[in-house]
Amino acid sequence: MKDRLAESLKQSRADYTEIRVERTWSSAVAFRGRRLETATVSEDQGGFVRVLNKGCGWGIASFTSLDELPGMVRRAGELSRALRLDAPIRLADVAPQTADAVLDLDGDVRGIPLSEKKKLLDRYNAAMLAVSNAIVDTQASYRDEVSEVWYVNSEGASLYQLRPEVVVSGTAIGRRDGDIEKGLESIGLRKGWNSVQNFDDRFRVVAQRAVDLLDAPRVRGGAYPVILDNELAGVFIHEAFGHLSEADFVYENPQAREMMTLGRRFGKPVLNVGDNGAAAGLRGTLPYDDEGTPTQDTPLIKEGILVGRLHSRETAAKLGERPTGNARAISFRHPPIVRMTNTYIAPGKQGVGFDDLIGAVKLGVYACGAFGGQTMLENFSFTAGWGHMIRDGKVAELVKDVVLAGNLFQTLDRIDHIAGDFTWNQMGGGCGKGGQFPLPVTEGAPHVRIEEALIGGDV
């Protein structure tokens, strides 16, 4: 394959050409309630070409038929030349890499019979249904893949990656009279069959939570000290800050750049945030991004100060900074854009625990788990899976409909206490941006306290 791609590169008459080819074997099993929805095996493949000529724009082509490759290289070249630009597009230098990055398949899913996968998911689904008669509906899904990616560019990069992925998730719907509540669990790993065998308890917990929420009161909306659990703190930093640090937000926008001036204080000295595409074994990890740039641990906030951004080669060149390995495309159907990988709030002092964060809180909210989040630049919103009131320094009653929303700058600035109990959240789902959803990412965080935040609930 590498030879075939190198040959097509040679034929290109453009100043810069890159070709990416992907082949993905995947299988999926899904249950809905007591019934199997689907069990199927799929094979998907295709190619992507991106071309740049001096003084011209990007020419892009994507296709499923690899026989089209030479023709597509030509057409991408024509498209690029059809766009004359006054200000040229420049790409920051990256030393071309030649490497094969083959991950351990951890029990090659291609060799496991589909019937075995169905049996496993049936077990997890049944575990949810067995918890209570109040569970009226469930969704359980299993998806695995082994994908191969070839990348070459005209600067001499030649990369091959082989990587596995498994995603297992469950939703339990509890219903009592007209009231409907939901519990959700999702695990996403850059691993194989060996790593998905022991999730029974997690699925039971999910269904139990849906039942418990039926009886729980809605949180009273208002301003509170809020402690985020590891999962929600991770989603928070991704949604509320991560997207702002993607340089394509600022690189063509002078006012945005002013807002995100390096050196600006974003939080208290206790706050450290980064994005690490090279962290071993995580779902968002990749050795090279989709422009062939090696990934790295990029500090974004250091002791409360903005110190970095996430870049593609183009945004780095525009801002006179160095590429960080954050140019990613969700598949051959899309061009790479600036994306996160594994984004984290670094742990606070070792030995500082959850109890230290809540000890001084007379009345607050402990917000846990994440149904999802959305950011609209300076404003964000996310929905916790559930919450607990904190009363007199102790965890108290379960509450529901905990929605945390606010202004990013204010909220980041109000993080005053960070525990040492860091974990990576290995969740399924993914990030959405520019029509590319769901991109595998990971978030990590310890427990985090926000001295005051607005919880919407009963308004």
Binding site: L36, W58, T64, V403
Partner: protein, 446 residues
Amino acid sequence: MIDRLLEAARDRVDNADALWRREEQTTVAFESGRLKAAGISEEAGINLRLLANGRMGVAGTTAAKPDPKELVERARASAELGETVELAFPGAAAASQPAIPTFFDHTANASLAELIRMGRLLVERLSRPDCQINVAVEREVADTEVGNTAGARGEYRATGIAVTADVTRIAGDDVLMIYDQYIGADVPTDADLEALVHSVETRLTAALTVVAPPEGALPVVFTPAGLAAVILPLEQALSGKTVLQGSSPLAGKIGEALFDERLSIEDDPLRPGRPASRPVDDECVPSRCTALVERGMVGRFVYDLETAARAKTESTGNGRRGVFGKPHIGYTNIVFRMANGGRHHPMAPASELGGGLIADIDDGLIVDDLIGVGQGNVISGAFSHPVGLAYRVQHGEITGRVKDAAVAGNAYDLLKRIGGFGADGRWLGARWSPSLLLEGVSVARR
């Protein structure tokens, strides 16, 4: 393409259906007002579903030269694990397929230069010194073939064009993003593009002043864009799937008057000029209109073949399928119909922000965008979101943009009594609706 596949399947299984689709897209993208990228994409794929010994299986491929036998084998392996279902495929003479124009030559043949011209027109019209403008124009041509072993066949070509514009204005830490789109099966006229410009400019101008939000249970005008939070629970609850599974609050309530009696909503795949329109669905069931809500009463739920079989009813022609995975339920065009709209000022131009519904509002909001729609317990109808783009209305006038506010309510409660239907009915993606004035919406200051 599918004939060979169905032939290969026929001898080995009870019955089968398949869909082949080829899509070509051409896109031009302007970033910060300048043309940055042009791209093409070509993709073809085939999806096969079959029943073997009464069990259902599915397989798909994007391979350029798919091997029919290999695909059939994969689908059979899938069926071995599948559930039994008494699926009845539509026959050749099931019902005549309506003739709907879905393919427009002008759109299919529009040159790169023409797409660029459209984008450039928008960039120039929207250009302002303090704003960043991004515009994308995407043209698609799709060929679809669908059929089954009972002899039904459907074949059509379709075009689509999407023109999107987003304007970002940053002043200090204040970020304002205004977005709109034109989506149609045929190219937009200059008037269509002007309407897009006007929509963005109106909302941008009204947003330049920031005012404090009100608080309490207030009248709120939800623009067609802002309506998403109120409509999404209904879309979920009206799906035959959630009804079958027992999670829909509307199950068992067909015929009940749960909504304002002036409100009707239908799913309409027969609308000319809409990309979601088609003569048959992705299971070769002929298209027809389905009344989802009829004069305030719960009408019909939407079904695909499998869900209909399990619910012992008929498909409504709402089957949708991609290359991988099995067919599932999907809406086509969701269209609001109002009887005796009322309450909008007869002289208010249709293009006015608020759709002519604000004249009698003493203190309230216009909501154009909420943050986080789709998260949480959507099907219950409850929503609580901070505003993304909203305006305060005082004594019948827009006084400015509100930023730190959250809006909450339950869609089923709010739609029981609609204060008014706007004069600004428009297409937004695949939904046609006007603004709606809803009373007693919880607004909280943040």
